[in-house]
Symmetry: C2
Subunit: 205 residues, 2 copies
DNA sequence: GTCTATAGAACGATAGAC
DNA sequence: GTCTATCGTTCTATAGAC
């Protein structure tokens, strides 16, 4: 298994030990599910005693919240701007976004899967903060597709549904992709970007 | 919340009390996650004492296994045949399958989400039995798309990737759909079937 | 920052009566 | 088929030493 890129979110820059722990925790949550992972298992895997974890985090749910908020904020701050800042036509920019989105999701799959799967275990106010970023992402993509439809570059029966269809395609990849298969994640990203823009949203036919 | 259709799987036909309990359990697992749902919470929600549950099931993991196997078997037995038995062209049959697939997934969303999210909590041999049905589903859809490409009715850069893209679109719906929105699940099913067949897999452009 | 020790509650599961 | 009672374990979290 390749190394996962460390989260460069500035919230962690002065406490890299916390980030190291969260890398371990996110993988344990991913593999076992939040509710089945105990503080003792986390401590054993990190290589400390359980009590030590409470020096770095307020509790198990605080770990989950930092994982969910960290990866969601980072996604919105680093990936969404591609839609406006990439080179070329609207179709070109959407393809660039889809490609980077897929690669990001694979690199951060432990954080992302944990977020989407176990978010409901958090208190409502913390859920709402994360969901706010997710909704902003959905809305931004819908508006981008809507604008492309108005300009005649995209075609879809409904911009909201087309946005969700595209998101669904992308989100499903981590459920089946394996780096030991015939395609790299970069190759999958390229083919999906083509399917999404040249087929699903095509205005040609 | 509307009533969910009862699972007609014959495994439950002589013990409908078990099925009633699993309807409650699947919703608790869906809302809280398998690991965070205790036998006492299940018993309280069903309206019995915790010990009573062990008359119907071997344990909590047995409940999860019956949910996962039941809904997966039922899907394969009832939905996959639509691909061959529906009326019309290959494109027509795929549209019918997509529509029924989406409606089925919404009706059985507690069972299905629990299955896909918490399957890894089961012993490996039980996981494998469920995964066998899921792989059969993926393979059948891939072969159907492949055949349609050979006949010139479908077009895609890769039949396996196109199959996963379609599955991803469909599976994502339950993450955002709400019956209180502007579209019914049947309307979403129709629009997605059109997007999948006339756009994503279109051979026209 | 990490440790030992432990509190207090909740966990899955079982025995045996009715 | 459901109950009462309970066993032994594990859980999250804290207090306080180093």
């Amino acid at each position: 298994m390749e190394e996962l890129i460390h989260n460069p979110d500035s919230r962690f820059k002065e406490t890299s030990r916390s980030l190291e722990i969260l890398e371990v925790v996110s993988r344990l949550f991913y593999e076992n599910g939040y509710g089945l992972v105990g503080m003792r298992l986390i401590a054993d895997t990190v290589g400390v005693r359980a009590a030590t974890l409470y020096h770095h985090f307020n509790g198990k749910d605080d770990m989950l919240f930092q994982i969910a908020l960290g990866v969601t904020q980072t996604f919105v701050e680093r990936l969404l701007p591609i839609l406006e800042e990439a080179e070329g036509s609207r179709a070109d920019r959407l393809k660039a976004f889809v490609r980077q989105h897929i690669i990001f999701r694979w690199q951060r799959r432990y954080w992302i899967s944990t977020t989407l799967r176990d978010l409901r275990a958090l208190p409502a106010i913390q859920q709402a903060e994360v969901v706010g970023y997710l909704r902003h992402y959905q809305d931004t993509l819908r508006d981008f597709i809507q604008a492309g439809m108005a300009e005649g570059e995209f075609s879809a029966p409904d911009s909201t549904l087309a946005g969700f269809a595209l998101i669904g395609m992308i989100h499903g990849i981590n459920d089946w992709f394996s780096p030991s298969g015939t395609l790299t994640i970069e190759a999958v990203a390229d083919l999906y970007a083509d399917m999404a823009v040249d087929k699903l949203l095509s205005a040609v036919n």
